[in-house]
């Protein structure tokens, strides 16, 4: 997909002015936050499980090479095949090769962010193979030629009227007068249309939430059942997963499952948790004849051993974006690549380079809500700060920001001068602010004031007020 992360600011401006999008984004705030809270409150051991989950992944990452080897051996011994891909391009070629060998014309797909990351659909299409997304949200955005705007709710940026219009446009073999006004009708229609596709497909591609070293098992966690039909009906099942999905044992998976669904959708368990180990066995009457795993690095191995290693604990639950005021305001597409929200702001520069993804870590208010809800206790704000520092070191910030920070540094080293300048500046701003004491517009700060008002400063500097408070406190103490 085209990367538009470098124009994050412009993307955000468009998003903020998009009425449809703003209406749809209301569903994120309403749909996820309370449900998560309730599910968390209903499990007294939740915080303890978060610690466990963090420790499990830390251990797995510290021993990743060894667990990958164990996992591979187990997949082989259960009759599966493991393919290793350093880059997105290698992964695409491997998958195309598997499809060609299977004479595939149609490929069904379960929801998978990794295949978004490697741009699989476009590539297969260019090579004459038709990919069919089967998750309802993914199906909708495939019809629209869009990309997911949320890692677990790909079509969250849309309203039902938009979906209805798309279904009428694409499903033109169905009667014009059918009623599609309610989500139920839309889901029913998608279900009927996709049913035949599962049977038609020669290859089914899914992602994986976990890869279990102990048993060579891949696991998907879903609600719709499409991922299961995708993997059980075609002759060939391909699992595409990045290397950090490895977890040592089934017991470890069980721990993380308890925090995953609660953090994602507020469910205690997703409807379907499916553990797959190898292809069809002797005596089986269904299931795929071939089982392939494509293990993708694509930049992860370089994150190990750096300040971004913790990011590899991410289980893609989406809680950080569900609780992010920036995501609530601009939605997922503004982030310009596959992964939005706080997790995307940290991951994107790691995976596509700070030159392209470097603006994203600035898309944060540092309110800390993402870290407080992250089931894997990933210090997202801290990592965004790391990126900002790196970006600044490399001189990638816009000139005005560098100038501003440079100016601040100049004054910071000269505190007397700083206090003087601040004391002079404040009355000016405070006068300009008028009686409302808010600015709807300020020179050089259009990016800020276009969508919110800047409060005018109090009439005295922080330092002045601090001295006064101290004086009062000292008197009171006497």
């Amino acid at each position: 997909m085209d990367i538009t992360s470098p124009t994050f600011k412009a993307n955000a401006r468009v998003a903020l002015a998009d009425g449809q999008l703003q209406k749809a984004l209301g569903n994120v705030r309403a749909g996820f936050i309370d449900k998560r809270r309730k599910a968390v409150d209903a499990l007294p051991e939740f915080e303890e499980l978060r610690d466990r989950a963090r420790d499990i992944k830390n251990h797995a990452l510290e021993h990743l090479d060894l667990y990958l080897e164990t996992y591979e051996a187990k997949v082989l011994s259960s009759g599966g095949t493991v393919h290793w891909a350093e880059t997105a391009g290698q992964a695409r070629d491997i998958i195309l090769d598997i499809c060609r060998k299977a004479d595939a014309r149609t490929v069904t797909k379960g929801k998978s962010m990794i295949t978004e990351e490697i741009g699989l659909n476009d590539f297969l299409e260019k090579n004459g193979i038709r990919p069919v997304e089967t998750d309802l949200g993914e199906y909708i955005i495939q019809l629209r030629g869009e990309h997911p705007s949320h890692i677990i709710a790909p079509a969250v940026h849309l309203n039902k009227e938009q979906v209805e219009a798309d279904f009428r446009r694409v499903h033109d073999h169905l009667p014009d007068h059918r009623d599609l006004s309610e989500p139920e009708a839309l889901l029913g229609e998608a279900r009927r249309v996709l049913r035949s596709q599962y049977f038609e497909a020669d290859v089914g591609i899914t992602g994986a939430n976990f890869l279990v070293a102990e048993t060579g098992t891949s696991i998907i966690v879903t609600n719709e059942g499409n991922g299961d039909l995708t993997q059980v009906l075609p002759r060939v099942h391909v699992v595409v997963a990045s290397i950090e999905k490895i977890v040592p044992t089934l017991e470890d998976v069980s721990q993380i499952l308890r925090v995953l669904a609660r953090s994602a959708t507020g469910q205690e368990m997703s409807v379907y948790t499916t553990l797959s180990t190898g292809p069809r066995r002797k005596g089986d009457v269904d299931g795929p004849d071939e089982y392939h795993v494509v293990l993708l690095d694509n930049g992860r191995s370089s994150m190990l051993g750096t300040e971004f290693q913790d990011m590899l604990r991410c289980i893609r639950c989406g809680a950080c974006m569900n609780h992010c005021p920036v995501y609530h305001a601009v939605g997922g597409h503004a982030y310009g690549w596959v992964y939005p929200g706080p997790m995307g702001a940290v991951l994107t520069p790691s995976l596509i380079g700070v030159d392209k993804g470097g603006h994203l870590p600035n898309a944060s208010t540092f309110c800390g809500r993402c870290e407080s809800v992250c089931p894997m206790r990933i210090p997202l704000p801290k990592m965004m700060r790391h990126w900002r520092e790196r970006e600044f070191e490399r001189g990638l910030n816009p000139a005005t920001q560098r100038f501003g920070l440079g100016l601040w540094a100049f004054f910071a080293r000269r505190p007397r001068l700083y206090r003087l300048a601040a004391a002079l500046g404040i009355p000016v701003l405070s006068l300009l602010g008028g009686r409302k004491r808010r600015f709807a517009w300020l020179p050089f700060a259009g990016g800020w004031t276009r969508h919110r008002e800047l409060p005018a400063p109090e009439s005295r500097t922080f330092m002045q007020q601090w001295r006064d408070r101290e004086a009062v406190a000292r008197q009171a103490g006497r």
Partner: protein
Amino acid sequence: MSARDTILGKVRSSLHAGANDQTRRKAVEERLKKAAPGVVPARGKLPSAQRVALFSEMAGKLSASVEHVRKAADVPKAVTEYLRGRNLPSAVRMGADPRLAAMPWGKQRALELRPGPSDGDDEAGVSHATAAIAETGTLVMTSGAENPTTINFLPEHHIVVVDAADIEGDLETVLARIRKAYGKGRMPRTVNLISGPSRSGDIEQKIILGAHGPRALHIIVVGG
């Protein structure tokens, strides 16, 4: 160098680890050998009768319907009545599970039994669960000719029989059972943990039952 060796090499160098570091190897071996359960919530740790009650309650919350019968021989009648109550055709898809096969289906004259995996045209399918989990109201299904995986997903109505004695408190207990049955480090081809009927919230975050999998999940608990 193969992609495999490059990736493993990069991982090692990023972690500053030698390929033959014995301490690391030992840590991994130990961990795999022990497969220690971690924090297991108190919720499921109950005596068996309460476990069954909790399972039914949790499955109900997930919009599954739950019914209890006294003995295995009562199942065919319960299935017939379920179909009749919902005006469904009197036919079910069913695998070769010996526990199901031993039930008196012949007494349900009008009921047609279709053997084998589902072909996508079945209104209803019957499976026997390997186990169930009280903590979350989850069914545990394992693949094979006994209970083909397609029956879990293709029919509109999935009817699942579970022995009360197989309802465990938590997933950890079930995993230990699977490990015992299949051998350490081995697994059935597919294990499906099923918590309620299929659903989607992809349109305006409104949860609707009956996405690509079954619209309805009916659980028949035997005994207990």
